[in-house]
């Protein structure tokens, strides 16, 4: 039931207090927070740095502007409404399909335009934002996620969380939404976390509600065969967010679009610690190793370093040769 502190220490598990003081406090300057706390800012910044993000359909900034919502979303079969300053996945409304009678969530629940209006109004009032400050609603295009991954998830886009420490990818996991998590990819809401080998992007271990799990609870598909396509370029994209934001300890949420490949969904300046559970390994040793590395290493070299040193079980699997995806997507 209870672990001894020495057991956790031996495995290099990092607790909340250590994360807050030793990493976030030391490496994340507060003045940089708005860059990641405001998703709209992140998006514009990413655009400037040539980092792909989901397409922005539009923004609603005033209660008056809600009237224009219908026109804005016209012609889009699916979209996501999210608060620019939301946290922890709060206030994200995913509409998978639109038909005559309304808007259908991934769970099949049907919403009317009224519901969308109310949701946007709540966002603008700051209901979901940090500290309740007035917010902006963003409407983004739906991500067409890679078919290869669809068996591993239930109603919703699986995303890949990579912890970037001083620009080095140190640990990664995939978050698979479940029926319990209502299509959201937050572990504490019941999504399944799958630890990923930094070297190859293959599954290491799976957890749900902090307990070990070998298959997806809804689709029943086993998790061991999970393998992220285009892994190295995903890591490079994520690692580039260090230069983009200047934040030393960063959680990057990536998605893989069928057409555009890896994309940056959002950034988090206070990434959670569940990733350690998903990987069955503490962050401590990896962070200590990265702290000894010099500044000013290029993105490619950093990713190569991480793939070499953080390969699971010490064995370096040969990086798979993959055909490059056609870069037909713009960087927005």
């Amino acid at each position: 039931m209870w672990a001894r502190p020495s057991q956790l220490l031996r495995r290099g598990i990092i607790g909340m207090n250590r994360r807050n003081i030793r990493y976030i406090g030391r490496y994340n300057s507060r003045r940089l927070y708005p860059l990641v706390d405001d998703k709209l800012k992140t998006k514009l910044l990413a655009e400037k740095h040539g980092i792909t993000t989901p397409a922005l359909i539009g923004t609603v900034t005033t209660q008056f502007g809600i009237k224009g919502l219908r026109e804005m979303i016209a012609g889009h079969s699916g979209f996501v409404i999210k608060p620019a300053k939301g946290s922890g996945g709060k206030g994200i409304l995913v509409i998978e399909r639109v038909d005559q009678d309304g808007f259908i969530k991934p769970s099949g629940v049907r919403l009317g335009l009224e519901d969308l209006h109310r949701h946007v109004s709540n966002i603008l009032s700051g209901l979901y934002s940090l500290g309740g400050v007035p917010d902006v609603a963003m409407i983004e295009g739906l991500i067409n996620f890679d078919e290869q991954l669809s068996e591993y998830t239930y109603e919703g886009v699986p995303d890949i969380r990579v912890i970037i420490f001083r620009g080095y990818p140190v640990m990664a996991m995939m978050r698979l939404s479940t029926a319990a998590s209502d299509g959201k990819a937050n572990l504490h809401q019941g999504a399944v976390g799958v630890g990923l080998d930094i070297a190859t992007g293959t599954a290491v271990r799976g957890v749900q509600f902090d307990r070990s799990r070998r298959d997806h609870p809804d689709t029943g598909h086993e998790l061991a065969s999970l393998r992220i396509p285009d892994w190295t370029s995903l890591l490079e994209l994520a690692a580039g967010c260090y230069e983009m934001t200047g934040l030393g300890y960063l959680g990057t949420d990536m998605v893989i679009d069928r057409d555009c490949g890896p994309m940056l969904l959002e950034l988090n300046a206070r990434p959670g610690l569940a990733i350690q559970m998903a990987n069955g390994e503490g962050l401590r040793r990896r962070l200590d190793l990265v702290e000894t590395q010099p500044e000013g290493v290029s993105v490619k070299d950093r990713v190569a370093f991480s793939q070499e040193h953080f390969a699971r079980r010490g064995e370096l699997r040969a990086a798979p040769a993959e055909p490059e995806l056609a870069q037909s997507c713009a960087s927005t």
Binding site: R11, S121, G126, M277
Partner: protein, 501 residues
């Protein structure tokens, strides 16, 4: 900022906090526990005299802080008289005055004295030696008495002892008897001591005995060994030292009572002993606050009561910090639990808990309906506030009708806090489901209850109110906790699966 500076600041706060607390405990004798009983004497002096019809003036010596006794409060009653307190190097005196008075006059002075275990001796100025001259045949008698005692003594104290013994019944010689026919015992002894070169003075003391009335002061002899050290001698028995229950009333060597414009003057004393809680005794000490003794007891009572609550908030904060950093309990809002705990203090725990749960659950149901109305957030929160007021009014009226006065105290709950709690809980419900509401709401309540128990503890209330230095200690503890990078208690459970491979 380097860690060294941080630890220096923490250490400084700690030392300062402990230091000022100890100072208050030792210097002001503020007890550590609230239950401690202290003995308090109430002494009343009545001055009687017959006024002659013209202006009258009465001067009474007053006691001051001394070994074993500390003055708490003093009062006087003297209708028609002007009153002033005089202080000089020989002591304090009360002076009553009136332009015209006839017949029997009574003036009252009462003092409350706290019995302390302060053993330090008070510095009293040594009186100068007085020239002593005797008429015949007393000069020879005096010389012989002194000679006799001198031979059998070694220092001022033993000399005094021997001298007094020569005047006591069994050893009384011819010379002593002769002297006693002419002089009063105590002034005579002081005179003889002075002649022998021993500094001494007559002082007046009051033997404190519970429930005694119409007592008089007894004369004592204060003998100085050197400029600083003195000892008291009983002029009747030659016993050295101050009895436990002797209150020195007048130590300046002056008359206890001086009356002008009146005759038959005398002063009598009655006294009463009482036990009272130490905290109350301390509270009524005469305010001689220096900056170091800085105390909120000098404020008006109403402000004191307010401060008593305010000074408890850091305790609540410490509990929250402890539970969040060391245990890892989730609460909704960082210091909401402290505010809820403050409300519990007003309502008492059972009423507060039941009231809180009732109001929040009914509020959640109503808030659930409000969410269908498609309102703007500010309007909705305002509506929730009004709803909360309505719920509270209904509960209060209902409980009053049923005969439960406890229900009335629910009104002490801060409206805004209840409204925000309801609002946050309902959002949490929509966003994360009822489970998270239970976790966070339960966490908040557990924290609030623990904070309440800590804040409502009589011992803690006593300490925080009487020792302001404790605030600094709490501050340093909170700073130290803020520096803790180890695991939280609940994380040991959370991360357990990782260790099971």
């Amino acid at each position: 900022m380097s860690r060294l500076t941080f630890y220096l600041i923490v250490g400084l706060l700690m030392v300062l906090g402990i230091g000022t607390s100890l100072h208050r405990h030792i210097q002001m004798e503020v007890p550590w526990t609230p239950g401690e009983q202290r003995q308090v004497w109430e002494v009343e002096a009545v001055v009687d005299f017959t006024a002659l019809g013209d202006s009258a003036r009465a001067e009474l010596a007053l006691p001051s802080h001394q070994r074993g006794y500390r003055i708490l409060t003093e009062n006087t009653a003297s209708p028609g008289y002007g009153l002033s307190f005089l202080q000089d190097e020989t002591g304090r005196r009360a002076q009553w005055s009136i332009r015209s008075a006839t017949g029997s006059q009574q003036l009252y002075y009462s003092v409350r004295l706290l019995v302390t275990d302060d053993k330090r001796k008070r510095q009293i100025a040594r009186p100068p030696l007085r020239d002593v001259s005797w008429e015949r045949p007393y000069d020879t008698a005096a010389a012989q008495v002194i000679e006799r005692a001198w031979m059998r003594s070694a220092d001022p104290y033993t000399f005094t002892r021997e001298l007094i013994r020569d005047f006591s019944e069994d050893r009384q010689g011819e010379n002593a008897r002769l002297l006693l026919t002419q002089f009063e015992r105590t002034p005579l002894l002081v005179r003889l001591l002075n002649q022998a070169g021993v500094h001494a003075r007559e002082v007046s003391g009051l033997m404190l005995e519970d429930g005694r009335r119409r007592q008089a002061l007894t004369p004592w002899i204060m003998v100085f060994e050197d400029e600083e050290n003195w000892a008291l001698f009983d002029p009747r028995t030659a016993e050295q030292g101050q009895p436990e229950n002797l209150l020195l009333w007048e130590t300046g060597g002056r008359a206890v009572l001086e009356v002008q414009g009146g005759t038959n003057s005398r002063v009598t004393f009655s006294m009463l002993s009482r036990s009272q809680p130490a905290a109350a005794a301390v509270r009524s000490q005469l305010a001689d606050d220096t900056l170091l003794n800085f105390s909120i007891h000098s404020l008006p009572l109403e402000e004191q009561a307010l401060f008593q609550t305010i000074l408890l908030i850091p305790i609540g904060a410490l509990v929250v910090v402890f539970l969040r950093i060391l245990v890892g309990i989730k609460t909704s809002g960082t210091f909401m639990p402290v505010l809820i705990a403050l409300a519990f203090i007003q309502t008492t725990l059972p009423t507060g808990l039941i009231g809180f749960l009732l109001v929040v659950s009914v509020g959640l149901v109503i808030r659930n309906y409000l969410s269908y109305l498609n309102l703007l957030l500010v309007a909705r929160v305002s509506a929730v506030i009004i709803t909360v007021i309505a719920i509270i009014s209904i509960f209060t009226v209902l409980s009053y009708r049923v005969g439960l006065n406890a229900g009335l105290t629910i009104t002490f709950f801060p409206m805004i806090i209840l409204a925000w709690t309801i609002e946050r809980m309902s959002i949490l419900w929509e966003e994360e489901g009822p489970k998270e509401v239970l976790i966070q709401g339960g966490g908040s309540l557990v924290t609030a209850v623990l904070a309440y128990l800590a804040m409502n503890n009589p011992w803690i209330r006593h300490i925080t109110f009487n020792f302001l230095g404790v605030q600094l200690i709490i501050m340093s503890l909170i700073l130290l906790l803020g520096n803790y990078t180890g695991y939280r208690l609940l994380e040991l459970r959370r991360f357990k699966p990782v260790t099971e491979d």
